[in-house]
């Protein structure tokens, strides 16, 4: 029970990171981006490549952080991957979604996002192979903080929780204290009015993709640290991300954060009563429940 709670919170915090980016885009561009989860895979795999590059450059970078399986080069690689994934996300928008926005409705973008997701997922499979991998092969030996058989906690997992808390706090400060954060919120509330006030829509859309891509990379690296890297990791997460965004209410960052925790906990606690094989169905049941009971989510406004 305690272990399930801990696992649920851990998975939930990873989902929250992914769902925040998803909900931002869903609110600003008004379409459900099914390729968002592929940004998670992209970020995780870019980190893998960059980590290997940094490790080859200097051996001092390979030293592990105290008690963790995470190396300095991995952290560096992650920081670079954040930017690359963010820029790529904005580029995909420019090449595909922007053009479709100009001549067709939001559902055409949903349609295209399925296609893009399929392409990205299989290109990753071609480039990196279909087998799953790890950042660090001795990850299994990462330090156990608690050896109590009822609750196994790895130091890595606390590291993941730490990252998510810091990032969410940072995002909260950014959205509520800076003028750029205000502008982003204004654009998502009322694009026309915000533009009249001199906010550049194109720049804000790019910023939203950058943030979404960066958060997706963080989620991907954390997920890979906790589980493993595989080309289908994004596909496995996508429904949970949507569940988190819908439960929280589309457009609400705090809602998505809370929604992620709820979906993570529900998935983990559900395993206490249902067989493991049915786990993929849990996010769908949450979505259906949310749509029947509270279609605007916990913090969402009327659409």
């Amino acid at each position: 029970m305690l272990q399930s709670l801990f696992d649920g919170i851990l998975v939930g915090s990873i989902l929250s990171l992914g769902a925040i980016g998803l909900t931002l885009i869903m609110h600003i561009l008004r379409f459900a981006n099914f390729s968002h989860a592929e940004l998670i895979s992209m970020g995780a795999y870019f980190t893998l490549t960059l980590d290997a590059m940094f490790a080859a450059i200097s051996s001092t970078l390979v030293t592990q952080l105290p008690m963790l399986s995470v190396t300095i080069s991995l952290v560096l690689a992650m920081l670079f991957a954040l930017m690359i994934t963010g820029i790529l996300a904005a580029t995909i928008d420019k090449l595909v979604f922007k053009r479709l926005r100009e001549k067709a409705g939001p559902l055409t973008m949903v349609f295209a996002s399925f296609g893009i997701g399929l392409i990205i997922r299989n290109v990753i499979g071609l480039v990196y192979g279909l087998k799953s991998t790890h950042y660090n092969s001795d990850i299994a030996f990462a330090m156990m903080l608690s050896s109590d058989p009822l609750l196994l906690v790895k130091a890595d997992q606390l590291f993941i929780l730490g990252i998510t808390v810091v990032v969410m706090l940072g995002l909260h400060l950014f959205m509520s204290r800076t003028s750029v954060g205000y502008a982003l919120r204004a654009i998502s509330e009322n694009p026309v009015l915000a533009q009249i006030n001199g906010i550049n829509l194109g720049a804000m859309v790019r910023l939203a993709w950058l943030i979404g891509g960066a958060l997706a990379t963080l989620a991907g690296v954390c997920y890979a640290l906790n589980n493993q890297l595989s080309p289908v990791m994004g596909r496995d997460l996508v429904l949970s991300l949507f569940a988190a965004a819908i439960v929280g209410g589309i457009g609400s960052i705090y809602g998505a954060a809370l929604g992620g925790l709820i979906v993570g906990l529900a998935g983990s606690l559900a395993l206490l009563i249902i067989p493991t094989g049915y786990k993929p169905a849990v996010p769908f049941l949450i979505i259906l429940l949310a749509l029947y009971i509270r279609p605007n989510g916990l913090f969402g406004e009327e659409q």
Binding site: F31, A32, A112, R121
Partner: protein
């Protein structure tokens, strides 16, 4: 020669079964603008429903009632419809992409159900032991396949005819009205959520029929047949053929299914053996690219939707004439003249 004929019959049978599902999607996406992200769920519901009702008795599980084929087929279609109602009621009132998310979810949920509920669905092994209709009457394998192809063609024609009548009917115009301008439809006193739900359920039942025929053809259904790629393939077929055009939907099916089978054959013969593992990925990228590039460059497809301004304006003129004659006699002449002027203009322009 016999080999070629039997292969062609096999290819056409599968392609035309899929064409039925594409027609179902055309009703949802092409005519009503509903995005179905989990076609495979309704296809699967039809397939499993049919086999459970019509299959021979199972020792180790539920189902296998051995019902007559027409009843089993109807049951499969009904199951797909029930699933669609369940998802549709929750989503047709809401943001339009919620339907995409919910249908995507129902496909994942159904796949995990059929994979695990061994008692009901046979789990990963699937369901076998289904006696195909008339199988005992026809002796040769090829003969049966040709007979079955004929049956599939009949089903396809029935669905095609039904949809053609439907989209030309007042209800069909209502569908397009909801797709083009929901607010205007509502202003005319129509209820878009109800119309969307009807179109969604009908389309899903057609997909259920497609799944049931598929399971009949193989006399076997397993979770392997419900791979998510099927949903993508059916989208690609519709967007290539031309959404909003039933002939286009069938043409697109043949083109994309041909490209799929052809690329699979090319990869298996030409690609080096250590690349065979990745052949699937390459084919998936092909399907993804077809979808994205069609949407970008040829969104209306090979056979674009025909927006028959002429028919429409004649009908409208007739209806205005009738209604005005019924009401006031004095203004009749004026209004019909006016409506003729208004409604003939676009016809002349085209």
């Amino acid at each position: 020669m016999i080999g070629i004929i039997s292969y062609l019959a096999f290819f056409l049978t599968i392609a035309l079964i899929l064409a039925i599902a594409v027609l179902g999607l055309n009703l949802q996406w092409g005519f009503t603008g509903l995005f179905n992200g989990g076609i495979v769920a309704f296809f699967g519901a039809g397939a499993y429903g049919m086999v459970l009702l019509g299959g021979s008795e199972r020792i180790d599980g539920f189902g296998g009632f051995g019902l007559p084929y027409p009843i089993a087929l109807t049951g499969g279609i009904a199951l797909a419809g029930i699933l669609a109602v369940l998802v549709g009621i929750a989503t047709t009132r809401l943001r339009h992409d919620y339907l995409a998310i919910a249908t995507f979810g129902v496909a994942i949920a159904l796949e995990s159900l059929v994979r695990n509920a061994e008692f009901l669905t046979g789990g990963a092994k699937g369901l076998r032991g289904f006696e195909r209709p008339f199988e005992s009457v026809v002796n040769s394998n090829l003969g049966y396949n040709l007979l079955f192809l004929g049956f599939v063609v009949l089903c396809l024609l029935l669905v095609y005819g039904f949809l053609e009548i439907l989209v030309r009917s007042p209800f069909g115009r209502l569908l397009r009205a909801v797709r083009e301008n929901e607010r205007a439809a509502r202003a005319l006193g129509k209820s878009p959520p109800g119309i969307r739900l009807t179109a969604f359920v009908l389309g899903s039942m057609i997909m259920g029929l497609s799944g049931a025929l598929y399971a009949t053809f193989y006399a076997f259904i397993s979770p392997q047949d419900l791979a998510p790629i099927l949903t993508f393939q059916i989208w690609a077929m519709l967007i290539v053929g031309g959404s909003g055009n039933n002939k286009g939907a069938i043409l697109g099916t043949l083109v994309v299914w041909g490209a799929w089978v052809g690329s699979g054959w090319l990869l298996s013969t030409l690609a080096p053996s250590d690349w065979q593992l990745y052949a699937g990925s390459i084919q998936y990228i092909l399907i993804g690219s077809i979808i994205v590039f069609s949407l970008l460059w040829r969104p209306r497809g090979l056979l674009p939707e025909k927006l028959s301004t002429h028919d429409y304006s004649t009908q409208l003129r007739q209806s205005t004439q009738q209604s005005t004659q019924q009401t006031t006699q004095q203004t009749t002449q004026q209004t019909t003249q006016q409506s003729q002027e208004i409604h003939t203009k676009p016809t002349e322009a085209t």
